[in-house]
C-alpha cells in the first residue's frame, strides 16, 4: 500500500510498507537548505519517528540532492538579517541530531549534487547510495566558511584523516571518487539506475527485524559518540561566527554573482 502524505510542499513524505521516503522538494533552488525546507524536514522526520517504518530514504527532487545552505539567506546584504546564518545553522545542527537518533535505519539516495551541508546530511545517514556522475563534497573553505556543524558527522563517516583532507581541500568530487573514500557506500553506474539500486537496498534493510535494526543502530550511536549533542551544537556557533566575517560575506557575494 502506498500512502502519499505531504508534510508540506517543500518536502514530500511517502510511506510504502515499512519504507518511508523523504524527498526535498525545491528543485528550482537545488533543494538548498532554507528555513522553509529545514522546518519541513524537521516535521517530516518527527512524523517518521512516530511511524511504523523501519527504513527512511532521504533524496531530492530534480537534478540536485541538496546544494547546501541557502546562500540568499546567509548573505547578510540580501537577507538584511545578520542572525539568519546562526538560526539556519542551528536548525541544521538540530536536524542532523534528530535524524541520527531516529530508530529507523536511514539511507541517503544522492540523486545529484550533494554539496556542503547537503553532503553532511548524507554522512548523518547510515547508508549512502549514489551514482558515478553525482557531485559530492565540502567546498565551504573555498568560500571562506567552515563546515563545523557537519564536521563531526563527516569524521565519523570517513575517519578523521580522510575527513581532514576532504574538508580542508574543499572542492567537489564525483560519485565514483566518493565511493573510493567511503563517502558513498553503494554506487550505481548512472542516474538512471540509482532508483532501482536504492529500492533494492531499502527493501533488503527492511527485511531486518525492526527491533534488531534500531537496537543495533542505537548501540553504534553510543559507541561512536553520536548522541553527544554538544559538538554539533557548538559547531553551529563556530560556523556562524566564520560566516559573519567580512571576508566570508564577500566571497559568498562573489559566488552569488557568478
Amino acid at each position: 500500500m502506498t500512502n502519499e502524505q505531504t508534510a508540506s510542499s517543500a518536502v514530500l513524505l511517502k510511506h510504502d510498507g515499512s519504507i518511508a521516503t523523504l524527498t526535498m522538494n525545491r528543485p528550482d533552488a537545488r533543494n538548498a537548505m532554507s528555513v522553509e525546507i529545514l522546518d519541513a524536514m524537521h516535521d517530516a522526520v518527527d512524523a517518521v519517528r512516530d511511524s511504523d517504518a523501519s527504513v527512511l530514504v532521504i533524496t531530492g527532487s530534480g537534478r540536485a540532492f541538496c546544494a547546501g545552505m541557502d546562500l540568499k539567506a546567509v548573505l547578510i546584504e540580501l537577507s538584511g538579517d545578520p542572525d539568519m546564518g546562526e538560526r539556519l545553522l542551528t536548525r541544521l545542527a538540530e536536524l542532523t541530531l534528530k535524524i541520527r537518533s531516529l530508530p529507523q535505519v536511514t539511507v541517503a539516495s544522492v540523486n545529484g549534487a550533494a554539496i556542503g551541508g547537503g553532503c553532511g546530511l548524507t554522512c548523518v545517514c547510515d547508508v549512502t547510495i549514489s551514482h558515478a556522475d553525482a557531485k559530492l563534497g565540502f567546498p565551504e573553505v573555498d568560500l571562506g566558511i567552515c563546515p563545523a556543524v557537519i564536521a563531526p558527522w563527516v569524521v565519523k563517516k570517513l575517519g578523521a584523516g580522510v575527513a581532514r583532507k576532504a574538508m580542508l581541500m574543499g572542492g567537489v568530487m564525483s560519485g565514483t571518487a566518493g565511493h573510493e573514500i567511503g563517502l558513498v557506500d553503494q554506487l550505481a553506474p548512472n542516474r538512471d539506475t540509482l532508483d532501482s539500486l536504492t529500492s533494492d537496498v531499502a527493501h533488503r534493510l527492511a527485511e531486518g527485524g525492526p527491533k534488531a535494526l534500531s537496537a543495533t543502530k542505537n548501540l553504534l550511536n553510543q559507541l561512536d559518540g553520536s548522541l553527544d549533542e554538544s559538538m554539533v551544537m557548538r559547531g553551529a556557533k563556530l560556523s556562524a561566527q566564520v560566516l559573519a566575517t567580512p571576508e566570508a560575506q564577500a566571497a559568498l557575494a562573489a559566488r552569488m554573482k557568478r
Binding site: 571562506g144 575517519g159 578523521a160 580522510v162 580542508l168 581541500m169 566564520v242 566570508a248
Partner: protein, 245 residues
C-alpha cells in the same frame, strides 16, 4: 639539515641531509621544530625531503654510537614535539613523500593534514625489529586512521607501497612518478593558501578539537617509547646492525 623558505603565503620546509637519506639527528629535529614554529604566519605549510627519498627515520648509526641511549631519547622527544607542532600549526600542513618514509620519517605523516606519495613509495614503521617501540607515533596515527589499521602498521615491520597506503588512509593522494610529488605537494599548498578568509584555519582548528590528540595522550605515547630506550635488546640489535661492540 633543514632548509626553510616562504613564498606568497606558502612556507616550505625541506629535510636537507640527502646523502644520509634525510636520516634524523636530534639537532635536525630541533631545527625542524624551530622552522615549523617560524612558519606560523603562513597560509599553508609544506614538508618535503631533498635527495632520493623523503626520510629514512632516525640516524641509527648515531644511536648505536651512543650506548647510553641519550641520542635515541633526544630523537624520540624531538619527533613527538615536531609532530605535535605540525598538528598545532594554524594552517594546513601538506607533506610529500617521495621514495620512502620509514619509521620516524613515516611518523611525520601523523602531523600532516594532507599527504601525497608516489605509487611505489615505501612506507612503514619497522622499528620493533631494532627493539624500539613506535608508541610515540600511535596517538597521532589513531587520530588519522582506523584503529585496526594502526595496530597492524605499528606491530608489523612490513613496508607498504603508496597504493596500499592510500587504501588504508595513511596517505590521501598518489602521484604516478616519484618526480611528480614535489610539484603536486606545492600545487595543493598553493591552492590551500589561495582560499579566502579564515575558513581553512577555522576548519583545521575545529577538526583538531573534534579528533583531538591531547597533550596527555601524546605524552603517554612518548613515555612508552622512552621507557624502553636503552634496554639490552635495543642495544644489542642496534650494535648488530652496525657491527659495533
Amino acid at each position: 639539515m633543514i632548509e626553510f623558505s616562504t613564498q606568497t603565503g606558502v612556507s616550505v620546509i625541506e629535510l636537507a641531509r640527502p646523502d644520509k637519506r634525510n636520516a634524523m639527528l636530534p639537532e635536525m629535529l630541533d631545527q625542524l621544530h624551530e622552522a615549523i614554529k617560524a612558519s606560523h604566519d603562513a597560509l599553508a605549510l609544506v614538508i618535503l625531503g631533498q635527495g632520493k627519498t623523503f626520510c629514512a627515520g632516525f640516524d641509527l648509526k648515531a644511536c648505536a654510537a651512543d650506548p647510553g641511549g641519550e641520542t635515541m631519547r633526544a630523537l624520540l622527544t624531538g619527533l613527538s614535539r615536531c609532530v605535535g607542532a605540525m598538528r598545532d600549526h594554524p594552517a594546513p600542513v601538506v607533506l610529500g613523500v617521495h621514495g620512502a618514509a620509514v619509521a620516524g620519517g613515516c611518523a611525520l605523516l601523523g602531523g600532516a593534514d594532507v599527504v601525497i606519495a608516489n605509487r611505489t613509495a615505501k612506507l612503514g614503521y619497522p622499528v620493533v625489529r631494532i627493539g624500539v617501540s613506535p608508541a610515540v607515533s600511535s596517538p597521532y596515527m589513531l587520530a588519522a586512521m582506523h584503529e585496526g589499521v594502526v595496530r597492524a602498521r605499528l606491530l608489523d615491520t612490513e613496508l607498504i607501497d603508496g597504493s596500499q597506503a592510500l587504501k588504508l588512509g595513511m596517505i590521501h593522494e598518489l602521484c604516478e612518478e616519484t618526480g611528480d610529488v614535489r610539484h603536486r605537494t606545492l600545487e595543493i599548498a598553493e591552492s590551500l593558501a589561495s582560499k579566502p578568509g579564515s575558513g581553512c584555519k577555522a576548519t583545521k582548528r575545529w577538526l583538531n578539537e573534534i579528533c583531538s590528540v591531547s597533550g596527555e595522550r601524546a605524552g603517554a605515547g612518548l613515555n612508552a617509547s622512552l621507557e624502553l630506550t636503552g634496554n639490552d635488546e635495543e642495544r644489542a640489535r642496534l650494535a648488530a646492525l652496525w657491527g659495533a661492540s
